[in-house]
């Protein structure tokens, strides 16, 4: 692979991720509106929000760490996208593997923690400590699931996992071969989206959107962009591990939208768990399914 080709892929992959993520944010809000029997926002609403936030005329910045940390967080999610193989574009997925990806997924939360710490807002500090707690809650089941998938396929390389799943059509998909593992992974992916009932660190009525409490203008815009990337990343990661990845965009896009749609359709009827309950619930159920799936993989 020559350098120009790689460069084009590195530009194209985050761009596609952003555009698909915008549609996912729109879907998120439309689904919520339809469940509440509202009409919901217009088609370009996510774009309007981001442009508006970046074009605010005054900004409040809480020091250099605030700004650097937001860039760290955004850089983390963008770096995550180039390790996620999509149809036709492998990016760096052949050079890095699942382990690198899992490491990169933690960078946004850590970057956010640094930035929120500079804001010195108590709601923000509570929010970020809850966000890191939530990360502990879903990362342990996720790591077990990833370990199970890697054991099952005998590799941690994402393109090889996709190739193994696509070898025999739908019957070799991870969700058919390792259904228990896939269930644990779906719950962990749900928690990664940070929607109710796992919305402990946003909690608008309680801690005033937690980490976002001091974010205005371009910082909030950065968070909106990050949300697009994160929705997309969750969809693609789950599709890659369990739904056979994608050979063509026409079959790949419905899969990633379906993965994101399942949590979004459920989330609107839930209130919010307490922080310690999220930890207990995730370790008990998501962790339980993941461990059972891992045991099944090992016994096979």
């Amino acid at each position: 692979m020559d350098f120009t080709h790689l460069f084009v892929e590195l530009v194209l992959m985050p761009l596609i991720a952003f555009l698909v993520g915008l549609v996912m944010v729109l879907m998120l809000r439309k689904v919520r509106a339809k469940i509440e029997r509202r009409i919901g926002p217009p088609l370009l609403q996510p774009l309007y929000d981001i442009v508006k936030l970046y074009s605010k005329k005054t900004q409040v910045s809480h020091g250099p760490m605030h700004e650097i940390a937001m860039m760290v967080a955004l850089g983390g999610v963008i770096a995550m996208e180039v390790f996620l193989p999509v149809p036709g574009l492998n990016g760096l997925a052949e050079k890095g593997d699942l382990i690198v990806l899992i490491y990169l997924m933690m960078i946004p939360s850590l970057g956010l923690a640094l930035g929120v710490g500079a804001c010195a807002n108590p709601n923000g500090s509570i929010g970020i400590s809850r966000a890191l707690t939530a990360m502990v809650a879903y990362d342990i089941p996720l790591m077990i699931v990833v370990a199970g998938v890697a054991l099952f396929h005998g590799t941690t390389s994402l393109p090889e996992i996709i190739a193994a799943q696509q070898a025999g059509g739908m019957s070799t998909w991870g969700i058919v071969q390792t259904p228990v593992l896939a269930l644990g992974g779906l719950i962990a992916a749900y928690a990664m989206l940070g929607k109710e009932p796992f919305e402990i660190y946003v909690a608008p009525a309680e801690i005033a959107t937690g980490p976002m409490v001091e974010m205005s203008g371009k910082f909030m815009g950065t968070l909106f962009v990050m949300q697009c990337f994160q929705l997309y990343a969750v969809g693609v990661l789950y599709t890659t591990l369990f739904l056979g990845g994608g050979e063509y965009w026409i079959s790949f896009l419905p899969k990633i939208f379906a993965v994101v749609f399942i949590p979004l359709a459920m989330t609107n009827v839930f209130p919010r768990y307490k922080t310690e309950d999220v930890l207990k619930w995730m370790w008990k159920w998501a962790g339980g399914f993941a461990l059972a799936g891992l045991a099944l993989v090992v016994m096979k």
Binding site: A33, K52, T58, S216
Partner: protein, 249 residues
């Protein structure tokens, strides 16, 4: 921007807001997006708050026009004052307003914010909200129906789209006057935690009345105010919002 050709001949003073063609196109796009993505912060101490749930939820659905409730002043664009304000809550409103980031808009909901409403003879409530913070729109009524609230939101959206809703700049340009009005209620030592004059300098919104006798006591906290001599105050050119004439009794 002046369109008078005579003025453009010799040493024309450069208008701080004058933009190139590209700048104006970008401004137009930004205004278009601003009008369609308004985050609302509700200040719900008054009874008007009861009209907002129907406005927000499935009956009237404000999200159709891109409005969302937001919970912190940092993220919000509109400060919606829903009803009467006592002197004590006005202080919080002023602090909240100053924490919002411009462009920011204030909507006074109900008769209480216009002229005291049914609390006109109370010693504890303020009567004219626009003496303390600049108000973009008022909604008369006690209470205004959700239809009226929507009407005003659409009107405000239209004015933002046309670039006319600039009342927030008035707070910087005439800060001395607003601070004086606030000091009448809160005592002459009142000062907000936000450095409004510093922001006015930073964003080049210093007007002729930004500094004055009322802001004098702020200067001991901010030694850089004496740099103001460098910055030329803008000529009085309030085309966006004609000065509000308050009829004194």
């Amino acid at each position: 921007m002046s369109t008078d050709p005579n003025q453009a001949v010799a040493c024309r003073t450069v208008d701080a807001e004058e933009r190139s063609l590209l700048g104006r196109v970008l401004d137009r796009i930004a205004d278009h997006c601003r009008a369609r993505s308004l985050f609302v912060l509700h200040y719900c101490t008054g009874c008007g708050a009861i009209e907002l749930p129907p406005t927000m939820t499935s009956r009237f659905d404000l999200e159709r026009v891109g409005m969302q409730p937001m919970v912190t002043p940092r993220q919000a664009d509109i400060l919606l004052i829903t009803g009467y304000l006592s002197v004590k809550t006005l202080k919080r409103v002023v602090m909240t307003y100053e924490q919002m980031q411009g462009p920011k808009y204030v909507i006074g909901l109900g008769s209480c914010t216009i002229n005291g409403g049914m609390y006109w003879n109370s010693y504890a409530t303020i009567k004219l909200l626009d003496r303390y913070i600049p108000v973009d729109n008022y909604i008369a009524g006690c209470m205004p129906r959700p239809e009226a609230i929507q009407q005003v939101f659409l009107d405000l959206m239209g004015r933002i789209d046309r670039g006319e809703a600039q009342a927030w700049k008035d707070y910087y340009r005439r800060y001395d006057w607003y601070l004086g009005q606030q000091q009448q209620l809160f005592g002459t030592n009142w000062q907000a935690p936000t450095d409004v004059v510093g922001e006015a300098i930073r964003y080049r919104l210093v007007g002729e009345q930004t500094l004055g006798s009322h802001t004098a006591h702020l200067e001991r906290y901010a030694p850089y105010y004496d740099q103001l001599g460098i910055i030329r105050p803008e000529p009085a050119r309030m085309k966006a919002r004609p000065q509000l004439e308050v009829v004194s009794r």
